[in-house]
């Protein structure tokens, strides 16, 4: 008898990842907040620590529609323009 495979692997897609910043010193941070209860609190605390330690600054906060939803496609170029580094988290 045949044993049929009911599974499917995620389709592969090409991703263009920008090079990671060589140094954190003076980097501009963009925060992506997902609306969970403590998400923004967690991200801001993290940003504060990075600021103290490496002199980073927060250049913007983007609030996602919900934790369920992906980040809106049109927002990505703005994140790229305004930040050297994007931090996202879930909190809760």
């Amino acid at each position: 008898m045949k044993i049929f495979d009911p599974t499917a692997s995620p389709k592969s897609r090409e991703l263009e990842l920008p090079p990671a910043p060589a140094r954190l010193e003076g980097a501009r941070l963009m925060l992506v907040e997902n609306t969970k209860f403590n998400s923004e609190t967690l991200l801001r605390k993290l940003a504060e620590r990075l600021g103290r330690k490496h002199g980073t600054t927060v250049s913007g906060v983007h609030r996602k529609r919900s934790p369920s939803h992906e980040i809106e496609e049109g927002v990505v170029p703005a994140l790229q323009r305004q930040g050297d580094l994007v931090i996202s988290g879930i909190g809760d």
């Binding site: 008898m1 045949k2 044993i3 495979d5 995620p10 529609r65 919900s66």
Partner: protein, 345 residues
């Protein structure tokens, strides 16, 4: 189609092979064959390579063939497959926002509410024990969707399904609306479909909460109990933008029918009464901050609009029960109603 050939012809050994491969939900599956897969696809008029939908955040594509294999494994008859297909298409709709309800610690069941002629044609139960065991289409259509979620959409417990408890409805949760004994128009007609059109409404639900009231002879006391079940301190979402499902059964349906209240009246009453005092929510640490004197008399409603409360009729005629199935918050996921395509058997 990927398949391994097993030397055995012993059905029990084949079933064990599916367990060993990690393909099941913990129950034995029906081993598919080339014929059963082909029959299932044919019943929905689909080719195996047709795409039913995608979940972009998971890079997942659901083909008809993979869904058919899972439907056969679940025990579906071929003619059930169009309903399974409609449900899967619903899961893939952007407004359903699959990733949240599928992976959340709350562990949602994907409730499938079937409307229109297909329900009777397939024998989908809408009466006694509508949420329970005993009816093949109810048991296997929902199971086919869950197996597809596990096997194709990578929604495996402990991986991308992070449910703390889960709930038994995660094996299968499919029922038909009782359209024959309904005070109002059935659910799908409120969502733009003709009454003779068959549909599946897909709704991500937390655990079932049964509401009992044997004494209420008018809508207000009955609906106060429903409102209380929808808005208690343990409710998952106190933010004020819920979508919830209320299923009314026979005796409660009769009270509302006899009252002359419209569906809208019922929904509006529930919007106004499904609420909590801010002081209580803060004392219970469900909202942040200290309790202020104003909080003692300030109420938070849990629903923004009447249409955020789905009202459905199902269940047995005898017994003073209805059911509330709290959702996840309409900003995070919305129920969707999808037409069932193809000929009704």
């Amino acid at each position: 189609m990927s398949a391994e050939r097993s030397e055995t012809t012993d059905p029990a050994a084949v079933i064990e092979a599916y367990f060993a491969a990690g393909y099941t939900d913990g129950l034995p599956v029906v081993p598919p064959t080339d014929k059963s897969i082909a029959d299932t696809l044919a019943a929905a008029g689909l080719r195996g390579d047709q795409v039913l939908g995608e979940i972009p955040s998971r890079n997942t594509v659901i083909t008809a063939e993979k869904a058919a294999v899972n439907a056969v494994m679940a025990g579906c008859r071929p003619e059930y497959f169009p309903v399974v297909v409609a449900a899967i298409r619903g899961l893939c709709r952007p407004e359903f926002a699959y990733h949240g309800p599928a992976s959340s610690t709350g562990g949602s069941a994907m409730v499938l509410i079937v409307n229109g002629p297909v329900a009777a044609a397939l024998g989908i139960n809408s009466g006694n024990n509508a949420f329970g065991q005993g009816h093949r289409p109810n048991a296997t259509i929902g199971r086919a969707v869950r197996l597809t979620m596990m096997n194709v959409m990578n929604t495996r417990p402990g991986v991308l399904d992070r449910a703390v408890f889960g709930n038994p409805g995660k094996y299968s949760f499919c029922f038909a609306e009782n359209e024959a004994d309904h005070p109002w128009a059935p659910l799908h007609t409120t969502r733009g479909f003709a009454s003779d059109r068959s549909t599946v409404t897909v709704y991500a639900s937390n655990s079932l909460y049964q509401v009992y009231n044997q004494l209420a002879a008018t809508p207000e006391p009955l609906l106060l109990c429903v409102a209380s079940a929808l808005a208690n301190l343990g409710s998952p979402n106190l933010k004020g933008f819920n979508e919830s499902l209320v299923v009314l059964a026979g005796e409660h349906t009769a009270v509302l029918r006899d009252s002359g209240w419209s569906r809208r009246d019922v929904q509006q009453f529930l919007v106004e009464h499904a609420r909590l005092r801010l002081a209580d929510a803060k004392r219970a640490a469900r909202l942040p901050g200290d309790v202020t004197p104003a909080d003692e008399t300030t109420w938070r409603r849990l629903f923004e609009a009447p249409e955020d409360i789905l009202i459905v009729c199902a269940g047995g005629r005898a017994g003073s029960w209805s059911a509330c199935l709290p959702g996840w918050g309409k900003k995070w996921t919305r129920s969707v109603t999808i037409p069932v395509e193809g000929a009704i058997p």
